[in-house]
Amino acid sequence: MNKIQVNRWKDQLFKIWGIGCTLVGLILLVLFIGDILIDGIMRIDWGFVMNLPSRKAEKSGIYTALMGSLWILALTTIIAFPIGVAAAIYLEEYAKKGRFSALLEINISNLAGVPSIIYGLLGLEVFVRILNLGASVLAGSLTLSLLILPIIIVATRESIKAVPSTIRDASYALGASKWQTIWNQILPASSGGILTGVILSLSRAVGETAPLIVVGALAYVPFAPSNPMEEFSVLPIQIFNWISRPQHGFIENAAAAIIILLLVTFMMNAVAVYYRNKWQKKWN
């Protein structure tokens, strides 16, 4: 065998290895989803979505948990979106580039890597105890807002950076102020990227369990929350609760709830991908 043949052989070997590695993730995901579908798909009907939780598996539904998740989603969006975008605009457009902004930048990136349960502990102390909000939807949303803020800030900064500087120059040269330039040019041009980042971070928030358990979300709530101060449950906690029950019926319920939760996050991701593509088309 000469050298060229050896190199080709190595090339082939690596390709096969690479395919194998790619398949590990894919196969596991397919197996998981398949397993869940087999267990749960028959359980999903309108009643399952609309029923309140019950001690009997077949009468139980996810209505309260789903409503809790939607409440959390809405409030987290309202809280995290303006704060995150504003912070990103400040860092990108106003803050002087220097040691202080570099320090801020590193810390925001670090915050994105802090385990979510730590945010839960922070939320418990600050929102539940000090601000006395109790184990409410509001306390949960505030906690999750903190959790996804770094992600929103990073995503927003990236999309603001991607706006060509020629657009800024043109706006300034026509006598626009900084704020007019940001509001009329930079935000519309970067909205696709910002929206993508926000949706992806929210889909992470919807799946979070640990911080909400720490904050005091309940596994069983008799009614869906009707205002931000009420106690709540969310889908992941409901799933966790059902899985820990011995009866087989609850395992089916858990599988069915997982399907619904996956549907929600897949849909959110699909919307994010749609906006990203639309946005890229505009600029390329």
Binding site: T166, A170, L174, A176, S177, A189, W283
Partner: protein, 272 residues
């Protein structure tokens, strides 16, 4: 109108003929610019005449664009930018702390190297400068948009597609749109930073014609790498070299009887 009283022998002085024309639109006295430690403009003084086209020529990196961007303070946002000296427009020092840079830029418009229309409709592009001034009357906007597009020689081509995206226009049309956008604000000075360097010869010719017509009403300063262009369209030409003004005179004089050896070498293509 303030006249230049003191004359630094090192700095350029206009020839006698133009000294008699006492009108000055922009007066620059000993302007220096640093970016951090780098001195990009090394003490330039010159007077720019109203209703004329002045061309800035010189090799890349000679500071001519930086110098041009002093007149509408576009360097202000660049990190490490520092400037000394005085620049007066119609007798007002534009680096005075009381000057609102937004107001200055309504008076001193700018067209850039690459056409940079906003990703909006043609109409919105031209109306932008007016809308940010708070003008919202549809009739006023319509008439000023039309006027600006006519001035920029673009009206006939786009009058039926004003709602169309500006990005759908050709490069040359986009650049004329950018000129129209600048004209709509009704400045008295227009700065052009290599406005045709990204365009084909036909589009370039159209823009040159346009510039020729515009000097009746406006004071135009154009940075160009193209010496034929400078000689075709400008009344005065300034030659820059490594942050210094080497020679500045009537275009005809500079291109036929340059005083300095370096200018001659540059315009005859021996370097640069």
């Amino acid at each position: 109108m303030e006249l230049v009283a003191e004359k630094n022998t090192k700095n350029f002085t206009m020839n006698k003929e133009s000294e008699q024309e006492s009108k000055t639109k922009i007066s620059i006295k000993n302007a220096r610019v640093w970016y951090g430690d780098f001195e990009a403009v090394k003490g330039i003084s010159m007077d720019i005449k109203p209703n004329s086209v002045t061309a800035f020529i010189g090799p890349s990196g000679c500071g001519k664009s930086t110098f041009l961007r002093l007149f509408n303070r576009m360097n202000d946002y660049i990190d490490g930018f520092r400037m000394e000296g005085k620049i007066k427009i119609d007798g007002t020092n534009i680096y005075n702390k009381k000057i609102h840079v937004e107001e200055l830029r309504k008076e001193v418009g700018m067209v850039f190297q690459k056409p940079n229309p906003f990703p909006k409709s043609i109409y919105e592009n031209v109306a932008y400068g007016l809308k940010i001034q708070g003008i919202s009357d549809k009739k006023v906007l319509d008439s000023r948009v039309e006027k600006a597009l006519r001035q920029a020689d673009l009206w006939e081509e786009v009058k039926d597609d004003l709602k169309k995206s500006a990005l759908a226009l050709s490069g040359g049309q986009q650049q004329r749109l950018c000129i129209a956008r600048t004209l709509a604000v009704e400045p008295s000075i227009i700065l052009m930073d290599e406005p045709t360097s990204a365009l084909d010869p036909i589009s370039t010719a159209k823009i040159e014609n346009l510039i020729f017509g515009l000097k009746e009403k406006y004071t135009i300063i154009i940075v160009t790498h193209n010496m034929q262009q400078a000689s075709r369209i400008s009344d005065y030409t300034a030659f820059f070299y490594i942050g210094e003004l080497v020679e500045y005179s009537k275009t005809k004089t500079l291109f036929t009887k340059p005083e300095k050896k370096r200018t001659e070498n540059y315009i005859t293509g021996r370097f640069g």
